[in-house]
Symmetry: C2
């Protein structure tokens, strides 16, 4: 399992992904699920992936190779004229990879499936955020649905739904996401730290701020431990139920 979130803010885009992959409960590994491409001053694109690791790595490798071999027949994500075209390219690549694996005769239920979040900005357009399905179609975030989650989405969703605000700063958004990730980690063994993040400032058109939050990160520990007390205080702030009704 996996947990990744891509979020639109007025200030730009925020991405966070966990790094745990597992084949069964007794075989866990750490893999980066976030990939960034940039042409400084012209575009910055981030991809988050969940699902079959062989599939998502193949997708990323294919997209990577195309950015290096400048071949007209295989358009590169660094050559896409718009974020919409970039999303189509990624979606087509995803569908191709899944179809190849399926065609090889394996029949496991959606075993090769993967779901992706793609976001970024290309000069001349606004920042855009997409969720790409294994079928190769995709949807775009809007003010009604300003963030996407993939993987183990349920535990961390209520806090996002309640506390998301498009006006929030990157600093506040990081706090919110770490609370959401912490709630998920506490409930599902197949999601785990470290967490990768990328904060894309609107109109930056390059990668400025990113990094990795380790399990032992002092700020993450503070949030993880402080959140329990903060929640209890929040609950205390509401009036108790009355048995006399």
């Amino acid at each position: 399992m996996t947990y990744c979130v891509g979020m639109m803010l007025n200030a730009g885009l925020v991405f966070m992904s966990d790094t745990r992959t597992n084949a069964g409960l007794d075989n866990i590994s750490t893999f980066k699920k976030m990939t960034c491409w940039e042409t400084s001053g012209e575009r910055a694109i981030t991809l988050l992936s969940s699902g079959n690791l062989a599939t998502t790595q193949a997708v990323v490798s294919l997209l990577d190779e195309r950015t290096q071999a400048h071949d007209e027949r295989d358009p590169s994500i660094l050559g896409a004229p718009s974020m919409f075209q970039a999303a189509r390219m990624v979606a087509d690549t995803l569908r191709e990879v899944i179809a190849q694996h399926d065609a090889a005769g394996q029949q496991a239920d959606s075993a090769f499936g993967a779901t992706l979040i793609l976001g970024g900005q290309i000069k001349g357009g606004p920042p855009r955020l997409f969720m790409i399905y294994p079928e190769g179609n995709f949807v775009e975030a809007s003010t009604d649905t300003p963030f996407f989650q993939i993987g183990e989405t349920k535990y961390g969703r209520p806090i996002l739904v309640r506390a998301y605000d498009p006006e929030m700063s990157f600093e506040e958004a990081m706090k919110l996401l770490l609370v959401s990730f912490d709630s998920t980690v506490k409930a599902n063994l197949s999601v785990g730290a470290p967490f990768d993040f990328h904060l894309y400032r609107k109109d930056a058109l390059r990668i400025e701020t990113g990094g990795r939050i380790e399990q032992e990160d002092s700020y993450f520990k503070l949030v993880s431990q402080g959140w329990g007390d903060a929640l209890k205080n929040a609950l205390d702030s509401l009036p108790d139920f009355s048995l006399e009704r």
Copy 2:
């Protein structure tokens, strides 16, 4: 889908269940998923059910019939000498019903499955709480795992994990459960109000306090609306992430 919680407190047991059942998205109904049996002064037992409605209703009907026909061969839940024996009886009944439906030749994947929460107290023993699986086995709550959830458990779990305290009063527990149910209802269309509840006071040995919380209940509305602000305040109380690390 369904959402039910059974919880052990030092003060006694708390039960809450939603009432929405659905066959597809376009066919929803309201059914009570909580059943109580009592012999005043001697025992009080509560059952919460999730899963196939035909299965859970058959289980409840069979258990009910046995309490009315005093037949030695079919021991009644009102005659069980202990909560453990009551749990065995319910588990056996559940397994029987599922086996009958399966034997009729239907082969849908666990389509007839159901999971139950059983809790209560019988004179001479302490209050006990069990989760009963479709296979007919069951586990008991303890101080390490003091509550059980069945149905759509994920959205409402983080707040229970963080804010549960065995010392809490019934009034505080109701508030906590309504927040947990509200988080679930907001995220999953197949869970819905009204919510049934039963507050079993330790050593009462009868049903004292129970009822139904409607969607329009003024206290529920207060909790539902107040919780968003309370969560935002809780998040504000934690220090922001620093981009300079």
